[in-house]
Subunit: 344 residues, 2 copies
């Protein structure tokens, strides 16, 4: 009921100065000279009244919403199970806090919902946006590009001029498979993380292929299956592999979560890991260290990617010069038990 909203005029009255002076003091407008005692009086008045400027009014005049938008572009089901959403949010909030800004979160499930984030931009609710997930509506992207609205993409969007942040999926996958080869495996299958239209899936498959070729091993399409983000798909595809004519001694599963399903399938066949089949995953989901056997995998630096994306975006917003706009962060092979590389 109080509704006693404190305005800058209240502060001004209490300090016995004008509203303008209050603004100067609180925003530390440099080229203005205010006597030290006035500064003190204003600060004290503001403190006592618990004054916090109205952000709408401030945004209106300064043309800065003081917040950025994080847009996840994918179907709802895949968002609920996206293990990295948390880490992205945490990383981004770090950057956002350091710059006194706010984080607005949104999701666009379907392409025809392009308005969701274009409206965000047009209504001036955000000063920049981070797009997470590689599939986006062309029209919305064009709008962003034309108005060169500060935008950073997490993931890779082939042949676009946007700033982006990603890992080198090809190299990472190659590393994973090379590890299996070094352990002596010759019959190595692959289950991707996702269907073909997803660029990350293609890249990881490419890395798999390169590793085989570099080692002089034959690439065979019937040792490849396409996962679909969830353990269920890993289970099904692993069953399919095991039903094939030639049983692999190792599998590169391009997603830890998919790998969990594959593990179930292998165990269900009465086979042991890594005894009968070795497994390498991808992502290093927090839980991968705690399943049995613990999963050898490629660490995807999700938080770091988010931080980098946030920093890039803030630079764009502040108009700082942007030279290298397509950033690739390094991955790391985490060796655990699922390949027999290390003991318990």
């Amino acid at each position: 009921m109080p509704q006693k909203r404190v305005t800058s005029l209240d502060v001004a009255k209490r300090a016995g100065v004008s509203r303008t002076t209050v603004s100067f003091v609180l925003n530390k407008t440099s080229h203005q000279q205010i006597s030290p005692e006035t500064v003190l009086r204003v600060q004290q008045a503001a403190e006592e009244l618990g004054y916090v400027p109205d952000e709408s009014a401030r945004a209106l005049v300064s043309r800065r919403a003081q917040s950025i938008g994080l847009i996840f572009s994918r179907p709802t089901v895949r968002i609920s199970s996206d293990i990295f959403l948390n880490q992205v949010v945490v990383g981004l909030l770090d950057v956002v806090h350091a710059n006194q800004m706010r984080l607005l979160l949104d999701v666009v499930e379907d392409l025809d919902e392009k308005n969701t984030y274009v409206n965000l931009v047009k209504s001036r609710r955000v000063d920049g946006i981070i797009l997470n997930g590689p599939r986006f509506d062309e029209q919305a992207l064009d709008y962003l590009a034309e108005n060169d609205f500060p935008t950073v993409i997490m993931g890779s969007l082939p042949q676009s001029h946007f700033c982006s942040v990603d890992v080198d999926n090809v190299a990472a996958a190659r590393t994973a498979v090379e590890h299996l080869i070094h352990l002596g495996h010759r019959q190595i299958a692959c289950i991707t993380n996702a269907q073909a239209p997803f660029t990350a899936a293609i890249h990881r498959l490419t890395g798999y292929r390169q590793a085989l070729e570099n080692a002089g091993l034959p690439y065979s399409a019937d040792q490849v299956r396409f996962g679909n983000f969830d353990p269920q798909s890993g289970y099904t595809q692993m069953k399919s592999l095991l039903a094939g004519p030639v049983r692999p001694t190792a599998v590169f599963v391009a997603s830890d979560v998919v790998a969990y399903g594959a593990i179930s399938a292998i165990h269900e066949h009465g086979l042991s890991i890594p005894g009968d089949i070795a497994l390498v995953g991808f992502d290093d989901v927090p839980m991968s260290n705690f399943i049995s056997p613990s999963l050898t995998t490629i660490r995807l630096p999700a938080t770091e990617l988010a931080v980098k994306a946030g920093e890039l975006l803030l630079d764009l917003i502040q108009g700082k010069p942007q030279e290298p706009c397509q950033v690739l962060l390094p991955t790391e092979l985490i060796i655990r038990q699922s390949c027999g590389g290390k003991p318990s």
Copy 2:
């Protein structure tokens, strides 16, 4: 470079009317009469120009930020691994979208950072907030209560008058343990989801105790261990239980994620699940259906909780009468393999 921001004046000019008329048409101000052809002309002009109102200006005059804040109150590490964050976000976005609002996400890690969300309120950035996690700074809560700012709490905050949404943790835990008792177990241990200060942990432990007492079984403190959110703690505490003088035939682990650690520990001891030890979890994390053995657990309706919280909050914001303000949603026992209740 264009920076050609479209304002309502542009629309007015193009339609040959005044700015006021544009506002009336676009906001469908009911008690105003505008001729149908004017309405059409204005709508068309707005469409052609791609006009979207500036939200800061609108918020300033209407006193509505058209967005709500979702605040997670816990250390960063626990946010990165909080499997429900996604589901909460998804549920809330659903409600938010249906009401043309936006979702602002924030995190308060430490109690002295109380300002983060009080500032959100004072600066009028949000029209209401949802607090997730039971531990909050008293001062900040008092501020919300005094100004009766629209607030909904996810979780339980003993003796507060806030609206809240939660599950009945006591009853749910009781159900889980009763299931074990019905299967014939007499020696049932418990690993909590968290340390004692967390009310949910207390409640689940209480449910465990009630089930034992109702069945005439003795409660013994040395069959109880306190987990700490992560698999690591489950692993350690399970080891500790197994090192004790009397080995339990079943364990109620009040968190699936903690249970994953416990499973590792059990397997490492060369024991089988459910053959040697039966296990019931709590939460029904998406992955619990895919580990082996798949986990019998209590389903926590995270998305539904979020939706309910969002709806409550919007009612509060719109000043609708609020009768039952402490909502408890039902849980469900999901029977899988970890208790031997069902076959593969």
